[in-house]
Symmetry: C2
Subunit: 415 residues, 2 copies
Amino acid sequence: MAIESKSTFIINNKAEDMVKWLSSFGLSPDGGVNRLLYSSAWGEAQKALEHKMKNDGLAVHFDSVGNLFGRLEGSEAKADTVLTGSHIDTVADGGRYDGVYGIVASLLAVERLKATYGTPKKPIEVVSLCEEEGSRFPMTFWGSRNITGRYTLKDAKNVTDAKGVPLLSAMREAGFDPAYYQSPMRQDIDCFIELHIEQGIVLDRSGRSLGLVSHIVGQRRFTINISGESNHAGTTPMPLRKDAMSIASHLIDYVTTEARNDESDLVATVGKITAQPNTPNVIAGEVEFTLDVRHHEEKHLKQFCDRFHDYIQLTASENQVSISSSQWLNASPVQMDASLMDLSKATAQDNNIPFQPLISGAGHDAQVFGTHCPTALLFVPSQQGISHSPKEFTKAEDLENGVDLLTDLLYKLAY
Amino acid sequence: MAIESKSTFIINNKAEDMVKWLSSFGLSPDGGVNRLLYSSAWGEAQKALEHKMKNDGLAVHFDSVGNLFGRLEGSEAKADTVLTGSHIDTVADGGRYDGVYGIVASLLAVERLKATYGTPKKPIEVVSLCEEEGSRFPMTFWGSRNITGRYTLKDAKNVTDAKGVPLLSAMREAGFDPAYYQSPMRQDIDCFIELHIEQGIVLDRSGRSLGLVSHIVGQRRFTINISGESNHAGTTPMPLRKDAMSIASHLIDYVTTEARNDESDLVATVGKITAQPNTPNVIAGEVEFTLDVRHHEEKHLKQFCDRFHDYIQLTASENQVSISSSQWLNASPVQMDASLMDLSKATAQDNNIPFQPLISGAGHDAQVFGTHCPTALLFVPSQQGISHSPKEFTKAEDLENGVDLLTDLLYKLAY
């Protein structure tokens, strides 16, 4: 795509066109977007945004890790900043909307506010966060965790990507030399507002334009290993078997049925399974599977996982096999700010935008900000719930509803 | 191992030593035996056996596919042959006893009978069958199926091994030129007696020295494919999922539980499973697993498989997913000869050898002969049921009990 055609998208000032324009940085032939942290496509997108922010009359700066800020100064001396935005990075072959929509909507809202009402009382900053997905380096939320002081340069010291490139080298090559690192931590944030696509099917099914997120779920992930006995499929009578596949299936059926019967929005997923020797006419001696459990209340999450682990022990003892479980992820639920939630609700009602409260089953930068400052997370629908895919799509009308709501919300917060 | 040391094993005339001697052809450093059809180790073993048979005063010949026969001529003109033996080929890295023990026991029995009673009424032939396992070429029972007229050269025409070597080329290189092929089919077999290791755990558990096989099971194998919907593990509520892993687990748990509750020796095994995309935080969109069901009665086998397929349909409908099942193996059960079974039983009792009737859950050459002539299949124990492994082991005492029984049985059949 030539620079000319990119510019035409900007002129329209429609959310859909701006999303398309930004997707041109890292666009693959199949329509997927590849903008891994510190890659050249990533750098070009941030520079294009910097240019756009300057054109909009914002004061622009990058922090030491590559988060980009465009600031509309406020009239009140020493007022904390109303921060809004989302992340610029994508997963490999990701969609056009994930992250980018939140940056686009923030820019459009600030443009409109500035054009209509001029200088706000509190400063408003649009942020294009450098990294949320953790797709290149195992450093999910590298951007927001630097801003909130949860990560410093030290945390990235030994981190490399799949090709062995150190994060710090990639950072230097992208123009952010670790030698000049200054803490990106911000103590002047009044609140953070993130607008994002749902990446789930709830709004698409309900037909509502807007989701007001009350909580971001906590997550626990485990690997469960059943060590049975590999034996001949023909010559080993059923009562003499220690069939790891049969036992694993019983546990997976149990845990997913329990989750379906749980009436509190808990989800449990066994996404990965491997069997040894994985041969049709040999009883599996070993089966390993992962379990991903999510819920917005720590207590309920714990109870569910504890109950399953009791059942694992019972199953191991009944079948006289060894079953181990190792936990490799434990993220607590994060509650969004109740006042901001109320304000968002009132704003949606004012604008006649059909909305509903939601729990986010996916992680977002808002969960990092949520333990640092008052935070709101707002969703627009994802068609068929599809995300992290070239098929990711949100209707133009829903995109515009989101911008309208964000504009009013920022007005109420900053003017 | 030098030829000298190989010879010392023969002199002892103990089954254990002869098994060790034969395992020296194709022995790997880890103690496994590799004697794939028409390989050089396979050829050396057959030639060593030929030499041994000649030394024993037997009339020796190879047929056109490489089955080796050593014949002790009988006194009755035109009497059919009492055939005894097993297969010389092994699986990759197989055990020392599988197949070979039956050849060794037959040779020792014939040596003893000849030394003690001289010429029999009916001729006795010891056969070293060229191929049973199907480990190099997908031609299980290539040896016995040529003898019984089930296979001819035509069936091997387009068959190649994993490296692309045609079966017919390998055959030629091993000294059996297809250009000179004459049908190995035998119409002069009075009966076939196969002595084999159990390759299962039943005799080892019961502590009995001998298993008298009444049936070789029928087998059905299927591949079952569940086509659900791959989705985000966090943002897809449980009621909106079409989780192929959860559904597959339910079916595997169901079918293996049904098999355990079946009180007629049926066995069912899901040995292989694959999931897509097989990622911890993504709901599996597709899961495929194999099912291996075995039983000695065709009717019962059919009923069990039909009932499971009814349940598959019910499950597909309840979960609104597509589940397909394709059958890729259908082998009927084979009953061993009842008179030979009675004779074997009486012979075991005469020799005070503790025995029990058994059903063979594994395939054997005896099932090919079983539809061609009266056939008996006799088992000695496998320690811990281990087979197709360097750890395969049978105690010397059990090996000798087997030889004693076979000697008496052949005496009753041929003298």
